[in-house]
Symmetry: C2
Subunit: 477 residues, 2 copies
Amino acid sequence: MAEKKMVEAITSMEEDFAQWYTDVVKKAELIDYTSVKGCMVIKPAGYAIWELLQKQLDERFKATGVQNVYLPMFIPESLLEKEKDHVEGFAPEVAWVTHGGLQPLQERLCVRPTSETLFCDFYKNDVHSYRDLPKVYNQWCSVVRWEKETRPFLRSREFLWQEGHTVHATAEEAEERTIQMLNVYADFCEEVLAIPVIKGRKTDKEKFAGAVATYTIEALMHDGKALQSGTSHNFGDGFAKAFGIQFTDRDNTLKYAHQTSWGMTTRMIGAIIMVHGDNSGLVLPPKVAPVQIDIVPVQQQKEGVLDKAYELKARLEKRFRVKVDDTDKSPGFKFAEAEMRGFPLRLEIGPRDIEAGKCVLCRRDTGEKLETALEEVEEKAAALLETIHHDMLERARAHRDAHTYTARNYEEFEKLFTEKAGFVRAMWCGDQACEDAIKEKLSVTSRCMPFEQEKIADTCVCCGRPAKKMVYWGRAY
Amino acid sequence: MAEKKMVEAITSMEEDFAQWYTDVVKKAELIDYTSVKGCMVIKPAGYAIWELLQKQLDERFKATGVQNVYLPMFIPESLLEKEKDHVEGFAPEVAWVTHGGLQPLQERLCVRPTSETLFCDFYKNDVHSYRDLPKVYNQWCSVVRWEKETRPFLRSREFLWQEGHTVHATAEEAEERTIQMLNVYADFCEEVLAIPVIKGRKTDKEKFAGAVATYTIEALMHDGKALQSGTSHNFGDGFAKAFGIQFTDRDNTLKYAHQTSWGMTTRMIGAIIMVHGDNSGLVLPPKVAPVQIDIVPVQQQKEGVLDKAYELKARLEKRFRVKVDDTDKSPGFKFAEAEMRGFPLRLEIGPRDIEAGKCVLCRRDTGEKLETALEEVEEKAAALLETIHHDMLERARAHRDAHTYTARNYEEFEKLFTEKAGFVRAMWCGDQACEDAIKEKLSVTSRCMPFEQEKIADTCVCCGRPAKKMVYWGRAY
């Protein structure tokens, strides 16, 4: 009955994708709601995913020379206002601290929604000469944006992220770093999260407040909606001019520095759920699974079964993250729970298996069961985890490709967004008026101008004027 | 001249310890001040120490079953007010958010100064049965306390820390966890930071707002002042009653849970500086040194020198954190800089060394130089780093013991605090009035009632009534 209750509790994704998502988030014990509207508790099962993601992303950062730092969480109002576009973009959605202790503050402070202004204020004193450049700093922290509608992981008033902020001597170097970090994100998504992404540039309408250019990676969720999964911004020397970040170059002249910033957030846990999950719950990519192998003893009250399970754990945990489920729940309940939590491999071992010197490995992603000789279990598990990662990535890619459509004219474009859910590739004239019109009519936004361009048609899908760029359009989270 | 400038810039600790501290913090590039009063930037050299500290402390937590989580940074005012002692302790020093976006909030939110109230609010929904217990959660985050006087690392309006919050079925189990975590902190200080500590219990005057008992580890800084280095609190069932955290026990009755919390902060970086530092700068314990071996090529323009330095780095970085200083600064400047930054070992290699198949290893803590055959460099470095850790710990212990005094009566007590700087052990009657009197007269506070008690005298050092406890007294940061 307990098993049934657990399975019954999930809405199927075909019936109601949004409710399925909420069910998985709750039943897999990733988050809990709180008394603080729009803020969530990230529970152990959710936070452990974040820790694995953070560790592997941080290693990739450091391999490119990134150094971690920590800046204050507060920004004085006058500092936020220094760059005009930036303050316009963020001021409407920040939280304001007006009192410290029992006293009103002389100047109110916002809780950082992002830290460009603080980094600039720091760099203006820290950068003097070309010898001080580049600075390639990053911080892991939480930020606050006072959103009206919130969803666990996808959009919350406070979320965890990393924000990289760099300073360079030349425009070329800044552009190079912007693209380099976008590639770090894209590789990370594919190689660690098994999520394929489209790399491209945001239109001016969609770019970051204060940036010259924003690059993005866009992923397609199972329901056909797009998720912006990481962004990398080139600021040119705009912030440097607003904040006075100047350095003496080799030629002994004073120059403004060029800057970038780039970020990835806890929303990637939402992406993992919506790209890989199924009607039995979460399906975790092996590289960020807090438990990679869940050992479930069968008939565990029989002599030797639990001992064998612990012995296997001791062997396997030298190479993998392993758990033995030795609770007094039934095997069926344990199986359902392991599926809900998305552990990539389940290892079943019972008295008959022990006698035959074997066990059963069961893949979470396909349900496939494989009998394995006990002496080969490490090798088999290692190979299977690699296969699972590969297959998850390819299934996600196939799903995305099957839901990526092409529209040559507005009629096709409208029909696709009425009948299908996915990316639609179509040509654009470069005028924001067309983006506005499309958004108003179809609730669709330009996701990016992909690096890999293709000439689908000669004219803009909206206005019919000559086209400049192929754009990925979609409904976004 | 550059070398001289670097060395000249530090005030000697004998001349002005506070200025020496500030100089080291700045010159070793650990922090920078910001436009946000009382908040600091932790720069790469400082943050890298924190990352190493965090990693090793987190591993020790996880070995005792701790799971990491993340809770919101905001606490609604009504939630903060639920536990009477707690709100009285913290309300005067919190930062208040009163506006979200362009709207005033219906209820103001404080930025967490500590998260007991949020954890309780979470646990009251998460704990139902004895099967749900214990919960042993921890979070790494930043907290805010609106301090008037601030010092880098020691006291700032925002600081980084971890806060563990646990729930247990029984009072005994909660007390056991409280002491267990105090021991984790004490072992961590000695084994990782090379800082010896006194373990004990805080008096009621000094305990945490809302706790039944607060345990502390106290360390002695080089100037004879005490630094509270980690605390572990047993809350009994006080918070559980205020928040309604109840569970059905095995006997089928509803009971209130018992709770603990425990924390350690970035102030430990301040402790490292003030326990181990000297007039040449920082001296880092090898286990938290971001660079353990700094390779300085001598006559690096000569053929083969830099190549040899890189070759040594490639060999050594398999086991250690290593850097080659291949900048165009003079060796003397490089030496001074490495000393300022506190790298435990400097490896000098020049043309003559290469010819002789050897190099020089120089200890930061003693200045001692050791000629080492190149083929033995890994083994020698490993042994030296262990020796350095051991010697740093023993020197700190000897310094503390030499500055720990005993007073049998008020005359001795006053004389010691007038003439000496350090801990003074003296008897206490248990009455807060004596603590208050001592604080007013001598600016001295009770640091702890040590676990290792000794009967120094029969009467209280202050009032002369019968004594109950031996107390460590000191002037504190």
